[in-house]
């Protein structure tokens, strides 16, 4: 109940953003919402099931291109976006069947290779996707401000939907089974957990919303090219966000997305040339000094402070 209330409040607060900010703020808001979707998506397979997936970029790019191709054939936007999610989900189910028997590093590499193969497929099918030249999407007939609002609310709604799915999954049999798999897959199997089925479900969940985010992103920027939508950073940043906010939790991915984008934005403005290094620095500090995320660190810091306070 608390989670639902929190989600509702958060969504309401975020819907007020257009009142407070200009297009720049809305743009930032859209990016935060997009990464919240991706981080939440990764959390299904990486956080709950414990499988280090780098396929987020593949799902995002696949969704972007699916939607872009459909739109170029005149499909309505809503349909194109939904189909993008469906396509990513279907792809995850097929690929998952092939690579989810791998563990650890092997799974990580395979999931990474999936994205690379997709990128090459796009590069080598210029008739359909424009190949390396990229693809232009129809520009919506909206004013700049209206477009900014539309895409902000679309992405926000998707983030809310993804989070709702996360809440449901976390409390369901599926979420429980995934946590079992993450902690001891053999034992989970012996207790009757259909590990293969559950992992595939988690992989599909990590694909469907990421695919839709890619579709919305493509419509938003109305030009996509392979290095942009299959960027490895689209797979890595969500993962960093989840680590930052707290792995396996419902709101950790959102907090992580907010923190990382806020930090990036502050850094990006002043130190453009060492942007990547700053992200690297965040990762190193995160991994070495706060393995349970920033929130856990804050919590344990508070706990440590408490005994020093006045005694009852």
């Amino acid at each position: 109940m608390r989670d639902w209330l929190l989600l509702l409040l958060l969504a309401l607060a975020c819907s007020l953003l257009p009142l407070a900010g200009d297009n720049y703020v809305l743009r930032l808001g859209t990016i935060v919402a997009m990464y919240a979707v991706l981080a939440q998506s990764w959390n299904f397979i990486g956080g709950l099931a414990g499988y280090p997936s780098f396929a987020t970029a593949a799902f995002f790019g696949l969704g972007a291109y699916t939607s872009a191709v459909l739109l170029s054939y005149g499909a309505p936007t809503g349909l194109a976006w939904t189909a993008a999610g469906g396509m990513a989900c279907l792809f995850a189910a097929l690929i998952g069947g092939a690579i989810l028997h791998l563990k650890g590093h092997y799974f990580a590499i395979a999931s990474l290779a999936v994205g690379e193969v997709l990128r090459e497929v796009v590069n080598t099918t210029p008739d359909l996707t424009g190949g390396g030249m990229g693809m232009n999407l129809p520009v919506p007939k909206l004013s700049v401000a209206a477009a900014a609002q539309t895409f902000y609310f679309s992405m926000l709604a998707l983030a809310a939907l993804t989070t709702a799915a996360a809440i449901i999954v976390q409390r369901s049999r599926l979420g429980f089974g995934l946590r079992c798999i993450q902690q001891n897959e053999d034992a989970a199997n012996i207790l009757g957990v259909n590990a293969y089925g559950y992992k595939t479900a988690a992989f599909c969940l990590s694909a469907v919303f990421a695919g839709m985010a890619g579709a919305i992103y493509a419509s938003w920027v109305h030009y996509i090219e392979p290095p942009d939508v299959f960027d490895i950073l689209l797979a890595v940043k969500p993962l960093v966000m989840v680590l930052l906010g707290g792995i396996g939790t419902v709101f950790g991915p959102i907090i992580g997305a907010f923190l990382l984008i806020a930090f990036e934005e502050l850094v990006w403005r002043s130190f453009l040339t060492i942007h990547a290094a700053m992200l690297g620095g965040i990762i190193v500090v995160l991994v070495l000094f706060m393995p349970n995320g920033l929130l856990a660190l804050v919590r344990s810091g508070l706990a440590r402070l408490r005994p020093a306070g006045p005694k009852p």
């Binding site: 079992c180 957990v193 293969y196």
Partner: protein, 254 residues
């Protein structure tokens, strides 16, 4: 009457090595079957074959006449076959209660998570773990972990429970408690297979004994018959000792 579980000429090879060699064995409902044999005889392999972890390379495994040889482990688990692991396998970052609930929920004993948690409390009371229900499994002592394994298995509401060295590493009073618990589980109508190293223990608890040696079944029968079997004594103690014992009457266990 068909046996609860029947192995028909079951073999399991790993590369060139036959870990189980054409084993034919049946387990009747309600019995406690002790499975003994020297290290590396294939005892754990037999459990792995039955539970589908390492499916048989030849032969059939039948559960009340139904062929389960090629079923996936989770399907076999849902048919009411539960096991414990020799090296305990808890979900370390879950509470004791959640560990047990996993067994109840996924093996099909409980229709919902909530019901699973309720049932699990009963199993924890039965196994004497109720006081530590909310502790993370990783903080438990070895004896507590062994009991947790047992509780997880029970929560699956099994027809057949396979216990792989649940007593290894326990002191004698802990072993006595564990044995009492095994007997109480049997009284509930659960058929049990016990793998055990300590001869005294297995003889006192089993209604029947089966002996594996180099992957082959060399004797099956009441504890008294099996312990008097020359082949068994040789397998355990070596030929020399067996020959020496042949003069005197073989010592009867416990």
């Amino acid at each position: 009457m068909t046996a609860l579980l029947a192995l028909e000429g079951v073999s399991r090879r790993f590369g060139g090595l036959a870990a189980l060699d054409t084993v034919t064995l049946s387990v009747e409902a309600g019995e406690i079957l002790g499975l003994i044999g020297p290290n590396g005889a294939g005892k754990t392999t037999l459990i792995n074959v039955v539970t589908g972890v390492h499916p048989a390379t030849a032969g059939r495994v039948l559960l009340q006449g139904e062929d389960i040889t090629r079923l996936k482990p989770y399907r076999i688990a849902r048919k009411g076959l539960a096991r414990t692991f020799q090296i305990v396998q808890p979900f370390p970052r879950m509470s004791v209660l959640e560990n047990v609930a996993a067994g109840a929920v996924f093996a099909g004993a409980a229709p919902s998570l909530k019901e699973g948690l309720r049932l699990s409390r009963e199993h924890l009371a039965f196994t004497g773990l109720a006081q530590i229900a909310d502790k993370p499994a990783s903080t438990l002592t070895l004896a507590q972990r062994k009991r947790l394994e047992l509780a997880k298995g029970l929560a699956m509401n099994p027809r057949f429970l396979m216990l792989d060295e649940v007593n290894a590493g326990l002191n004698s009073s802990e072993v006595d408690e564990a044995l009492a618990m095994i007997r109480r589980i049997a009284e509930r109508g659960v058929t049990i297979l016990v793998i055990e190293h300590l001869m005294k223990v297995v003889v006192s608890v089993s209604t029947r004994l089966a002996v594996l040696h180099h992957g082959a079944l060399i004797a099956v029968g009441t504890p008294r018959e099996v312990l008097a079997d020359r082949g068994v004594i040789e397998a355990y103690l070596g030929e020399k000792y067996a020959a020496r014992l042949a003069g005197a009457r073989p010592a009867e266990g416990a």
